[in-house]
């Protein structure tokens, strides 16, 4: 899987209670791209992201990751390739200690314990959380939880990163560290976020979602100057732009 492509064609998803969360989503994200998915609350960002590693699978439409169709037969391969950060870190930190939590993925990959330890320490160091290794997750602050959750994803050494609101709840330093980390990552990155300044710093492409559809797909500069589009999708230009004008 050298080509870190993600492609969706005609994706439509309805939750069991009848809510139509995605309708006819199509896009194609190429190798090494950093793409932001933005949109108001309930626009369908999280639902879309959950499709990218097969957490949700819909009847209509298709997702392909690195030229493999997402389906039950390919799930293991897909999930090893796609690292997924969930919106609520409490959902992702289920082990008794930070170390064991970050080690959960590598251990499932069947790595020997020495390599697991190496990966865990590297991943924790990358997010600046080495000192938390022995702590139980419930004793962490919100931002620390998110940092550790990110380490858990990185420790799997995925070739594609899918992140749901990674900067939510981070202090400015941690947020800056996260942005630098994501910039240093040469693989494909897909980030759903309300942090539009992060989008400006990081992404070369933006997908704007509204009510389960993709309203626009383009460069950040073009999207953020289209005031009519932003208003329609419950968005605003990034703060750093508003101050400038």
């Amino acid at each position: 899987m050298s080509r870190h492509l993600i492609e969706a064609r005609g994706l439509t998803y309805r939750y069991p209670d009848g809510t139509l969360a995605l309708s006819d989503i199509s896009f194609r994200i190429g190798h090494g791209e950093a793409v932001a998915v933005i949109g108001g609350n309930g626009a369908g960002k999280s639902t879309l992201l959950l499709h990218l590693n097969g957490s949700l699978q819909s009847g209509a439409g298709e997702v392909r990751v690195a030229d493999l169709p997402v389906g039950n037969a390919t799930l293991t391969q897909i999930r090893n390739a796609v690292g997924m950060l969930f919106q609520d870190p409490d959902d992702q930190l289920f082990m008794g200690s930070v170390f064991d939590d970050v080690a959960f993925g590598p251990r499932n990959l069947g790595l020997p314990e020495s390599e697991v330890a190496g990966r865990v320490n590297d991943a924790l160091a990358t997010v600046g959380a080495r000192h938390l290794a022995g702590r139980p997750p419930y004793r962490l602050s919100g931002g620390e939880k998110r940092a550790v959750a990110i380490a858990g994803v990185i420790a799997m050494a995925p070739s594609i990163l899918v992140l749901d609101e990674p900067s939510d709840g981070l202090d400015p330093a941690a947020r800056r560290r996260l942005i630098n980390l994501l910039r240093s990552f040469s693989h494909t990155r897909i980030v759903a976020t309300h942090d539009l300044d992060l989008v400006l710093d990081l992404c070369s492409r933006v997908l704007v979602m509204n009510r389960g559809r993709i309203e626009a797909d383009g460069k950040p500069q073009a999207i953020f100057t289209d005031t009519e589009l932003l208003a329609r999708c419950q968005l605003e230009p990034p703060l750093s732009w508003q101050r400038r004008s």
């Binding site: 293991t76 409490d90 959902d91 004793r139 799997m156």
Partner: protein, 270 residues
């Protein structure tokens, strides 16, 4: 809903001492688990009118608390909170068992009072031993130890999940409860309908959370088996601790130390 927050604080307070670096926290959890069980078995094996011979056994929790840096006040508070049940059943003994058993300077003490005191003493000893096991080991390692001792992994995994998410769910319950109280116009107690609605919503959220956690686990390669670390190593100190404990408990079980001590002291008195 402050009761929920209190309970949570209680739950966490014990576990935090296990992170302290000391001799006890470094011991293999299996050694401490086995010692605790042996201790409890010895304590409850005395007959129901025993008080004196039980006293030397108090040395175990005292030493554990001292070595483990666990404040005695914490254990005492927890004992107090847990005591009503032992009190409730035990208090019938003095009422029902009135035959005089002990003659204390001309005062007859009924057998019921003696057995009641014995019940309370056993309660304090066994419960503080269990509390100190967690406080000096940490729940995480207790579970790892149990696992190595043959407890099915499905239960130890379950225990860790429960411990982890008790906080999250109790937090949700507490917030829902506060929201209800704010709108309940002073009616503190829950009637059945409101209660069922509250719990039903809490349960729905719990189920949704479980689903999300499962997804997060699958995303990191979960295939149904929890692979824990296998870093428990039985060392000579663990063996030493266990043998020492067992020997002391056996000694306390076979010799009535306080009476012997009293005999010597009384003999030494003019």
């Amino acid at each position: 809903m402050s009761r929920i927050d209190d309970t949570l604080r209680e739950l966490r307070s014990l576990d935090s001492f296990a992170a302290l670096p000391n001799t006890l926290t470094r011991l293999d959890p299996r050694a401490k688990i086995l010692a605790t069980f042996f201790y409890i078995a010895v304590v409850v094996s005395f007959d129901r009118y025993t008080i004196l011979a039980l006293l030397p056994l108090a040395v175990y929790p005292v030493i554990l608390a001292a070595l483990g840096d666990v404040p005695p006040s914490l254990i005492a508070r927890k004992l107090l909170i847990a005591s009503p049940f032992a009190l409730m059943i035990g208090i019938f003994n003095p009422l029902l068992d009135r035959a005089p058993l002990v003659d204390l300077f001309g005062m007859d003490i009924a057998a019921g009072w003696v057995s009641f005191a014995s019940i309370l003493l056993r309660f304090a000893l066994t419960v503080s031993a269990a509390l100190l096991l967690v406080a000096t080991t940490g729940f995480h390692r207790v579970c790892a130890g149990l696992n190595q001792l043959g407890v099915p992994r499905i239960l130890t995994t379950q225990l860790l999940f429960l411990f982890r998410y008790a906080e999250v769910l109790a937090g949700e319950a507490s917030r829902m409860g506060t929201a209800r109280e704010l709108r309940a116009c002073g009616r503190r107690r829950l009637n059945l309908g409101v209660y069922a609605g509250l719990l039903g919503h809490l349960l729905l959220r719990a189920l949704e959370r479980a689903q999300r956690i499962h997804l997060a686990m699958l995303a990191r390669g979960f295939d149904g088996e929890m692979r824990g670390p296998h870093q428990l190593a039985w060392r000579r100190t663990d063996m030493f601790f266990l043998v020492l404990c067992a020997a002391c408990f056996a000694l306390a079980r076979s010799i009535d130390l306080p009476r012997a001590l009293g005999h010597i002291l009384l003999g030494a008195l003019p």
